[in-house]
Symmetry: C2
Subunit: 346 residues, 2 copies
């Protein structure tokens, strides 16, 4: 096996974390001696041990590590918390070489991990492709722009309707598709909806059907303050963003902005450390994000059924003459298409 095959294995290990690493990047590691794979590991859960240590723990005889090579998808951490950093620990194992998938974009780590390993006499090679960014797009986007990575999620019929009757909620997708969309939620730290969706659907926005230790923050955009005197105004794990100064005084979780725009909402969420957010609806809120080019991805669940032509159209009054994105993936789940578009903007 060659370097790229070991790195591919490390990537496959990283992906095993699925959504469980949450705000932490998904990271995988492989330890190789000669042509023998001594161990593999990954960062299994937010707060748990890192991938390098997980792999290390799998090596029964630590003497074997002397002269070994460790492949890891992301630069080992260098900041000391309750435990010494991974780079510091790795410096004592006798490794000959470390192949790093990508430099950590977190300024607390950037180049520090590599520096510490090299200071310990270990050969460090940096992989030429953005290995970790492919696995952790939101994590890398957040540290590059200090803004959350935005995914717009749409569930529509074959004829582009999100509801059969305007003002009512229509069930479009099946239980199997719901599970997939809850998995999508599990990757987020926040879910944004508009006030009409909050009033009509009263969604919990919680992750269900799949297990998680973290629930995303509910974010409701309510410019005028329509949720005043509703239960939303006192609800837990909720952030309401409004242009209504009186409403904003009502509770600590109601945030005032003089003008609410998608970009200002994202700045606010970025300041709160939100790396990944989903814009779930309604269609006019999504239209605002798309028109302002304030999104990185659009995921469309499209059922093969037809809703009345008088129903509510998806994408509202989106103003864009261009393609909304490049098709990066198409899956079929229970006879529903899942279309993933990557936005073309920077």
């Amino acid at each position: 096996m060659k370097d790229h095959e070991y790195m591919e294995l490390a990537v496959a290990m990283a992906q095993k974390a699925e959504w469980h690493s949450w705000k932490n990047p998904r990271v995988g590691a492989v330890i190789v001696k000669g042509s023998t794979i001594l161990a593999v590991g990954y960062h299994q859960q937010y707060g748990d041990i890192h991938a390098e240590i997980a792999a290390y723990q799998q090596v029964p005889d630590k003497q074997q590590l002397i002269g070994a090579t460790l492949y890891v998808t992301l630069e080992p951490c260098a900041h000391t918390g309750k435990q010494p950093s991974c780079a510091t620990q790795m410096s004592t194992w006798g490794l000959k070489r470390v192949v790093v998938g990508q430099i950590d974009p977190n300024p607390l780590v950037t180049n520090q991990g590599v520096k510490r390993l090299r200071a310990a006499g270990i050969q460090v090679d940096i992989w030429p492709l953005p290995v970790s960014e492919t696995i952790n797009p939101a994590f890398h986007y957040f540290y590059k722009y200090q803004l959350p990575y935005v995914t717009v999620k749409v569930a529509q019929s074959l004829n582009g309707k999100i509801s059969g009757v305007i003002g009512e909620s229509t069930k479009i997708t099946s239980a199997m598709v719901d599970e997939d969309s809850h998995t999508l939620r599990a990757y987020q730290q926040a879910i944004i909806i508009g006030s009409t969706t909050a009033l009509v659907d009263q969604p919990n926005l919680t992750v269900r059907h799949v297990s998680t230790q973290h629930q995303p923050l509910r974010v409701i955009i309510d410019r005028r303050g329509r949720l005043k005197n509703t239960s939303e105004a006192t609800r837990k794990n909720t952030l309401i963003i409004t242009e209504n100064p009186e409403f904003a005084k009502q509770a600590a979780h109601i945030e005032y902005l003089d003008v609410v725009t998608p970009h200002k909402v994202l700045q606010l969420l970025g300041q709160r450390g939100i790396q990944a957010t989903l814009v779930e609806g309604g269609s006019e809120l999504q239209a605002a994000f798309i028109t302002d080019n304030a999104y990185q991805e659009i995921i469309i669940y499209q059922a093969m059924t037809v809703l009345p032509k008088t129903g509510l159209s998806s994408f509202g009054t989106t103003k864009s003459l261009n393609t909304l994105g490049i098709i990066s993936n198409v899956n079929v789940i229970d006879n529903t298409l899942k279309i993933t578009l990557k936005g073309v903007q920077e």
Copy 2:
């Protein structure tokens, strides 16, 4: 190699004909002696020699055929036209065995080809799967029901609009997608549109961008006779179907039906030997075919752009609470999705 591998090769040969066999089925043949493939062939063009003969011509020394096995995706023909039938010719080659992909549904041939071969002392095995039906769905459907195989073709935006402004034609797809949809046309013997589409778009409905020797019949459904006194009423290679008896008297290519329904239109086309037809538009004509369950396939070209929500919705007033079909294929062409649905009805 085993029987199924030779049959797969014969299927691959058959598919090389693409749309050029037109009303004839696409057929492939492979001749094998021991473990040597002596020759392959396929029915290249409507009116040309059949697959078995094409393969035969590729064998330089006809002595090699003695004791050979011939795999063919469809039963060899038994009716004599200008040439003796394939089965008759094959009886003289010295073949030991013929493996037939599927019995020919054309009543002129059904079981006759097999009978003739067996009468010549050749072992004939019938393949247990509907090999030819997979390659030639319209051919088999036509001979089973005496009705054309109907494909509904829709070009829509991501939000289910077929036109940005009602009453106007909007270009939705790119040149590369157009080429694909002209390929789809090339497989048809007729293309059906409604009178509004005829008046607004005045489409030629010809096959362009790809080469063909056969142009499909233009079929216009014009119940009221709105095309009276238009150039459509005198146009070549056109069939107009109307409920207006006065209009029907105007020209030979205008056909009167007391009540025009999708099923009656299809019966009429079936009587004229149309095996495959495309319902191209408008959305209300397509809605009528779908609501009446008068279709076998729906092909949707879906661009990743958004048209105004006030535009014309795809699928019109289709009345169906169920899924319109099972997703059988999804392709990406020039960032446009091509979704193929197979109808679930008999």
